[in-house]
Chain length 162, copies 2
């Protein structure tokens, strides 16, 4: 496991995400790291992240697949170019699509393990396969397609909303 999480390399304007932004004080602030060829994120849901009492609600699990997936996509993009995440030019990724299969109910009250594996890096598109385990039992399987967006486009989006 490296010392600095993927998300801690995001520039400030990409670090406000409720799921993974280090600058969002209300958010989940998930942290993802390489562990060999897989990426990993440990996350303990809050007691109120309920589906039915005792189990984690599906929206949070989808959010973990989303943010761990885009984090892994970013890290994979840099890895594909054999360079560190703090080197230029910066690579920015947004989620194009997300698929989540809920295999079993996910128990609440313990740290979940979210793992990711790069299935494909093709041009601007990165496909990440993911799974979430609780007590070493896989409860969720996911797949995410992330697309690299030019920083210029991100800047334009930020300008429109000002």
């Amino acid at each position: 496991m490296t010392e600095i999480a993927f998300q801690d390399f995001y520039p400030d304007h990409m670090a406000h995400c409720y799921g993974c932004g280090r600058l969002n004080e209300y958010g989940h602030q998930i942290k993802s790291y390489w562990e060999g060829e897989e990426s990993v994120c440990y996350f303990k849901p809050e007691p109120y992240h309920i589906s039915i009492p005792g189990y984690v609600y599906g929206g949070l699990l989808a959010a973990l697949i989303d943010c761990h997936g885009t984090g892994t996509a970013a890290a994979a993009g840099y890895r594909a170019e054999s360079r560190a995440m703090d080197t230029e030019p910066a690579l920015r990724y947004l989620t194009a699509s997300l698929h989540v299969d809920y295999l079993k109910p996910t128990p609440l009250g313990i740290a979940l393990v979210v793992r990711g594996k790069v299935k494909e890096v093709k041009g601007r598109k990165v496909v990440i396969e993911e799974w979430i385990s609780a007590n070493e039992i896989i409860t969720v399987h996911g797949e995410l397609i992330a697309v690299q967006v030019p920083d210029q486009l991100v800047q334009e989006l930020l300008q429109v909303q000002k």
Copy 2:
């Protein structure tokens, strides 16, 4: 639009969901209604539900697709049997899988409209097509497969966690 939301018919033990449970004081408490053949839910994200500043984060959009979808599935199940949601036997649905396509960035600061349409009711399985609009522009498309679970199974799950 009917007066009582789909979620307000859920029995207490199914009403703690962070996305849609009326008994979860920390959660989103979304409300879904029929509007002709479509179901609709209006939801205004909080200012901190950010992806990049000014836009809604994907995890919340997935959560809306999830909970509006299971609500619509439940309502569709009763409709398929031509009976009201407060009649017995009760029908309980959980999400089996969720697919979300993020078509455009979704602006923050306005009420979003989540719409659903029943694609299929086949035995215990219900397929719901959904889309989210902001300022009348569709920004997200989703599809959800919900499965009806016997209340006995729900009760067993609740017991395990006690």
